[in-house]
Amino acid sequence: MSGHSSSTSSSKKTQKNITIALAGNANVGKSVLFNQLTGSSQIIGNWPGKTVEKAEGTLNFEGQQITIIDLPGIYSFSTFGMEEIVSREYIATENPDVVINVVDAAVLERNLFFTLQLIEMGAPLVICLNQVDIAKNKGIVIDTKKLGQALGVPVVPTVAIRGEGMYELTKTALSVARNASSNGKTHVRYGAEIEERIAKLDQAIQTGNLRLTYPSRWVAIKLLENDPEIKKLVASKSEDVIKMSEALAAEISSIHKEPCFAVIASERYFLANKIAGESQRQSEIRTTFSDKLDWIATHRVYGYLMSAAVVGGLLLWTFFVGNFLSKLISTYVTSRVQPLDPKVSGSILAIVWNGIWGGVDAGITLIVPFVIPFYLLLAMIEDSGLLTRVAFMMDSAMHKIGLHGKALIPIILGYGCGVPAIASCKIMETRRERLLASFAITFAPCAARTIVIFGMVGLFLGVQWALALYVVDVAIIFVMGRIAMKAVPGKSTGLIMEMHSFKVPSFSVVRKQTWIRTKSIFYFVFPIYMLGSALVQVLFALNLLAPIGNVMSPLTVTVLGLPVITGILLIFGVVRKELVLLGAVAIFGTANLALFMTPVQLTTLALVSLIYFPCISVFTILAKEFGWKAATTISVANIISAILIGGLAFRLLTLFL
């Protein structure tokens, strides 16, 4: 580039690091683009003080160091949740050198609604017109030059998944970043009666000298839209501006006979529609392969079959691959260091060491091989768009437990490990829904519980009994979810979900998603596993658990019909669920548990361990997300249901077995 622009800040930036932010709707290929640009140099964390994922990466482009920030996928800058607030605060306060707005070429109009809001924020902008290949398949061709002229910003067509257009996009973004004067050149123009009032309010904000980090025109528009966050911000500085904005908003709504925020949204969409209409050509609408697949996936019969096949296949795959990997790892890695069985006698030091090692070993050989393949395939199903269809079909069932279709994802994650599952509940809109979904997750058969079910029931009674326990568990989740829905006051929010087209999943996105979900197992579950195992084994060796086991005997022996020793096993299981099984093997001194327990007892114990208490890892994350009170309430509910269901199961099973 030619070098010296008038502003000093931009000339400094040519030597310094340049920051590019990626912004756009969900499911437009933004993550794929991010991965393409940054490769392996990514840091994934949280936005400071927020529960929103933050992805940051670096790129060296022709000698220029570039930092790339991936903003959350959102549809608008209105405040609904943290993701919108994080995005707009970032753009306003951190002033990225350029914002790349990733736009889905197949759904141009809807995407432009967000583009117009980015233009309003005054951010230096480049449009990345992504998935032009998919649009073409649908018969949509976009004139990028016309689109660029209409918006007043450069437009680069790309197919991020194949890396097409990456060079051009980066080059364009850099040139915009270096010519920061293009900032704020373009304006979104509303109808005269609105513009007049925006100008008045803008004037008042400027003369009021409110020292806001946001552009004044943007603040004026947000005030007219009645944005609660911005209103709070301005109210702390000037009540007069707020009063003025309310009066002006009332004027606009009486002219249009619609609330002001709806008028502004309509106007924006009107513009988006006009610009999209002028720059795109839609030939005859073609039925694509995606449409056919969609027809099957949402059919009233095949749709449910497909949903069942997807979830069933996912679990089967996990079971086989997990088993294979688990054996592989334990044969070649961990068993060479030390045997797996928990040590319950000998010197304290040896027991502590065995406990710590046992925790690591359990993590490596039992959790990782099951959970990682599970989450990997799940992320693929998710990225392909198939899971959206399952959520669509299951929405009405989820409503019965006070949730909606989207809650399916956290609950399915619970079949792997409860910790990432509960962490992922943040996709739900309200605290009540997050709480209900988390409660349901505490009943889901995670990898560790699956080991108990198959090690106790599958091995000694047959696989069909183990599978029956799974079915019983789904019923338990449903019934308990329904009870919780009635017990927790509040209304459910409904489902609003975009049904994006099917696509071939991107490996880089799937890998990243899997890592985001699995990493909490390493830094959260592993330490708890290690410390907890050491502690509980030492307590046992010091003979401190036996008295507790005896105290519990009215419950374990009388109500549940189990041997006294299971009280201790259940305490072991609080640390790690699979310790119920491994502890039994260690204490009885044999793997043949059928010598010590009847089939009824084995089944009852497996069922009880499935539901009686979230393990301490899950308890800790519950406390972290919802507070100690909620975590304790959930655990008490778990214990009560385990006693009731276990007692009932014992009595019923005695009749049959």
Binding site: E109, R110, P259, S396, G405, M497, E498
Partner: protein
């Protein structure tokens, strides 16, 4: 057997005629507990008054005028049920009959005040049926709240008949004309493109009262029943 009024007939035909299908005379006679001969006679009279399209031996459907009348009476009925149940705590088994008696006496003005008083309810408590939209010319409930001190004659009326997208068939089109509900949901719907005046098409309806998938501005969006029930469209101008 008490003689049935025009409103009763319109209500029954409206309830039986899902998606504009023809309603048979026998069906009506069963539902109203009236002899088929009397039903036929009444249908002829209603056809003369322009409320129904009646073709002998096939059945009848409501005209635009008939639909408007039927929706008005259903709206009053369901608002009254909500009031009786939620506010007066009258038993679920009694509210229906009680509301049947009261609906004829409720004025339009009282109807709108009742709607505001009940905080714009969307479903009646006894059977979960959708309360039809009002015929005030508003696109959202917020305006109604703002304008409540003006008289009905000043506010004017909505011309078109609105139907909830929950009651539409797959493939049906319409123009978004009224969205009921709280600010947050409304804002989310606006942001994904369901602004007043936008044309939408019903793409799919999930079984078991599942979500409705609509095509809006070239994108496909699934709306849960609870949300879809509150999105009302004008289907009169067919494209």
């Amino acid at each position: 057997m008490t003689p049935k009024s025009t409103a009763d007939y319109l209500k029954v035909i409206g309830a039986l005629s899902k998606n504009g299908d023809l309603v048979g005379t026998t069906e009506i006679s069963h539902k109203l507990d009236v002899a088929p001969a009397s039903v036929t006679e009444m249908l002829k009279k209603l056809a003369e008054d322009g409320y129904v399209n009646y073709s002998p031996y096939q059945g009848s459907t409501l005209t635009e005028k008939g639909l408007q009348e039927a929706q008005k009476i259903m709206r009053k009925h369901r608002l009254l049920e909500t009031f009786l149940f939620n506010k007066l705590k009258i038993g679920k088994d009694k509210v229906h009959e009680e509301a049947c008696e009261m609906e004829h006496a409720l004025s339009d003005e009282a109807e709108e005040s009742l709607c505001r008083f009940l905080n714009h309810p969307d479903k009646c408590p006894d059977d979960g049926k959708i309360i039809p939209a009002c015929n005030l010319p508003f696109a959202t409930c917020e305006e109604c709240i703002q304008m409540h001190n003006k008289g009905l004659e000043q506010v004017g009326q909505r011309e078109a008949n609105l139907v909830s997208i929950c009651t539409l068939k797959v493939g049906a089109c319409g123009k978004v004309s009224f969205i009921r509900g709280e600010h947050r949901v409304l804002q989310r719907l606006l942001d994904i493109g369901l602004t007043p005046g936008t044309s939408i098409k019903v793409e799919k309806i999930a079984p078991l009262k599942g979500p409705v998938e609509v095509c809006v501005r070239g994108s496909k969006v699934a709306l849960g029943q609870d949300i879809a029930a509150n999105v009302f469209v004008d289907c009169t101008q067919k494209t």
